[in-house]
């Protein structure tokens, strides 16, 4: 079974965001970057599948700057066999433009896994777009997956329920939290990762149909008020919610 996992380098969740001098991107100075948390679920699922099937290969693919090699190495340390960096200095806020470049690299796999969402751009789109561009099945934001006899069944959470979806391979799935418990790279894995193949391919990425006007910090929430201590403050809260906030 040939399995691909797309991995993205993103700022750590704890990072304080500062706007860069261009007013259109973040100031990366001092920012710690990590493997996108949802992509960890995708990698774990790929590794478990490979182990279950008993043969095959898991390839991690990232699109981005040279620094994304580090992200791929994290995937290799978890147990992925080899990596491909689609190298570009450009970024695009149009997930269709990103999907096109990834799709060009992704033909010929039985299963392609993505994270549900990249925690930087919050698009929740690239995996599904790649599947459409390749003309194959896809199920997004899955919390459960079973594959047997060239077919799959996935469960995805929707508002007030869980959808059960059957699909044929080849396919794309995008991983939600709860799909599995991602492993931590062991020391041995980290050592081995250094020797695994990582191919670097320069690619062209255009902006697609979207241009950044600006990136700003959200408006500060007006300073809140502590209304008091203990249950005696409850009437003050009710009053504030009724007359000031007008939500009751």
């Amino acid at each position: 079974m040939k399995i691909a996992v797309c991995v993205k380098r993103v700022p750590d969740t704890e990072t304080r965001i500062k706007i860069g001098a261009d007013g259109k991107s973040i100031d990366e100075d001092g920012v710690k970057f990590v493997l996108n948390p949802y992509d960890e679920y995708a990698i774990e699922e790929a590794l478990q599948l490979k182990a279950k099937v008993g043969d095959g290969e898991v390839v991690a693919i990232a699109l981005g700057r040279d620094t994304s090699q580090e992200t791929i190495r994290t995937a290799l340390a978890m147990g992925v066999d080899r990596g491909v960096l689609l190298q570009t200095e450009s970024v695009s806020l149009d997930p269709v433009a990103v999907g096109k470049v990834l799709a060009a690299e992704l033909a010929g796999y039985d299963l392609i896994l993505f994270g549900k969402l990249a925690i930087d751009d919050y698009s929740q789109a690239v995996g599904t777009i790649v599947a459409e561009l390749l003309g194959i099945a896809s199920v997004s934001a899955i919390g459960h997956l079973e594959i047997a006899d060239g077919k799959g069944t996935a469960e995805r959470e929707i508002e007030g329920g869980v959808e059960v979806v059957e699909f044929s391979l080849p396919a794309v799935v995008t991983a939600d939290k709860g799909l599995n418990e991602p492993r931590y790279p062991a020391l041995r894995g980290i050592m081995m990762a250094k020797k695994k193949p990582l191919e670097v391919k320069p690619v062209e990425l255009d902006g697609g149909g979207i241009t950044v006007s600006d990136l700003t910090l959200p408006p500060e929430r007006p300073e809140g008020r502590i209304l008091g201590e203990g249950p005696d403050a409850v009437p003050l809260l009710i009053e504030a919610l009724r007359t000031e906030a007008k939500v009751l």
């Binding site: 919050y122 698009s123 508002e159 979806v165 059957e166 149909g209 008020r225 502590i226 409850v234 809260l237």
Partner: protein
């Protein structure tokens, strides 16, 4: 702005509340910059749906594709039917709600039409060009993005665009979805035990965290939600990981993003990853015994103290109020 196609969602043949939000957003988009654009509401679902309300909320035309095959969201058929509709009209934008369905359908339609996608949009400005706002980096920053191609696909965050009545004489047109090669098929929706509102859709969300000490104590949260009415129960990751609540209730970076009118955080410290999921709520209330808990930094109103004393009192007073 040119014409807008509003793709609306139903469940069990009944239009969802977010459908009216998406329709309202579509109307605003079509009317922006001088107006003149029309809005076509587009609904796929089982036979016999009642769509008469859509004219009241700004649809100029209501396109309905009915078949029992379309009762559940079917990715391939829904995408094909939407694309066929776009190609048979002259639309500048295809708009839908950023629900589980919209987040799956939007990318499919954009890829098939080879047009840009702006997901989870919270505002737009239509001048010569369309500009949308999208929260990114877990809500810690906001992009304003100019869309330079037409058409484009836009999904709007639930609870942001409140439905506004705008009555029109809308004609209903039956459409026939194309036959589509089906690569995947939704076979059922498994319902969880409790049919409460989903946190992403509810106008009020009451969430509990580790401060509740025991899973059984979530009944305090449930009772408050019941007293408020129209409220969903949310949870922090700490209690989801501990197995007290299901992942579907989790609010935050690795859970759901919510924007209700009122968010009540009970025994939740306010870690940055939790704030990521609820900071765009209109009014935030925090109840926590630690006056330095970070949740108070973004709360509009806070009460410091023991939740086991405060929450029952709050529930009682809300009940009194509702009765009065």
């Amino acid at each position: 702005m040119a014409n807008v196609l509003a793709v609306l969602e139903q469940r069990g043949g009944v239009l969802k509340q977010v459908a009216l939000e998406a329709l309202t957003a579509a109307r605003q988009l079509a009317d922006a910059s001088g107006g003149g654009g029309s809005v076509d509401a587009f609904v796929l679902g089982p036979s016999g749906m009642d769509v008469s309300e859509l004219g009241k909320f700004g649809a100029d035309q209501i396109m309905v594709g009915e078949s029992d095959e379309l009762s559940l969201y079917q990715p391939d058929s829904y995408a094909a039917a939407t694309v066929k509709q776009v190609q048979s009209g002259d639309y500048g934008a295809i708009l839908m709600a950023a629900t589980a369905m919209g987040k799956d359908l939007g990318p499919r339609v954009a890829a098939r039409l080879d047009c840009p996608l702006a997901a989870d949009v919270t505002a737009f400005e239509a001048g010569d060009r369309l500009t949308v706002s999208r929260p990114v980096y877990s809500g810690k920053a906001v992009y304003r993005l100019e869309i330079t191609a037409s058409p484009c696909v836009i999904s709007v965050r639930p609870n942001v665009f409140q439905p506004i009545e705008n009555a029109r004489d809308a004609a209903t047109v039956k459409i026939t979805p194309p036959d589509e090669e089906v690569r995947s098929r939704t076979i059922e929706i498994k319902e969880p035990g409790k049919a409460r509102l989903d946190v992403t859709e509810a106008p009020i969300v009451v969430s509990g965290g580790r401060g509740l000490k025991e899973p059984e104590n979530f009944n305090l949260v449930e009772d408050l939600a019941d007293a408020l009415g129209n409220a969903a129960v949310g949870a922090s990751r700490a209690v989801v990981d501990a197995g007290w609540r299901s992942h579907s209730d989790q609010v935050g970076q690795t859970g759901k993003t919510v924007s209700p009118q009122l968010y009540v955080a009970i025994g939740i410290s306010g870690a940055i990853q939790h704030l990521a999921g609820m900071r765009t709520s209109k009014v935030i209330v925090a109840i926590n015994k630690d006056k330095d808990a970070p949740i108070f930094k973004i709360a509009d109103y806070g009460i410091v103290g023991d939740l086991f004393e405060i929450v029952p009192r709050l529930t009682q007073e809300i009940k009194n109020l509702r009765r009065a």
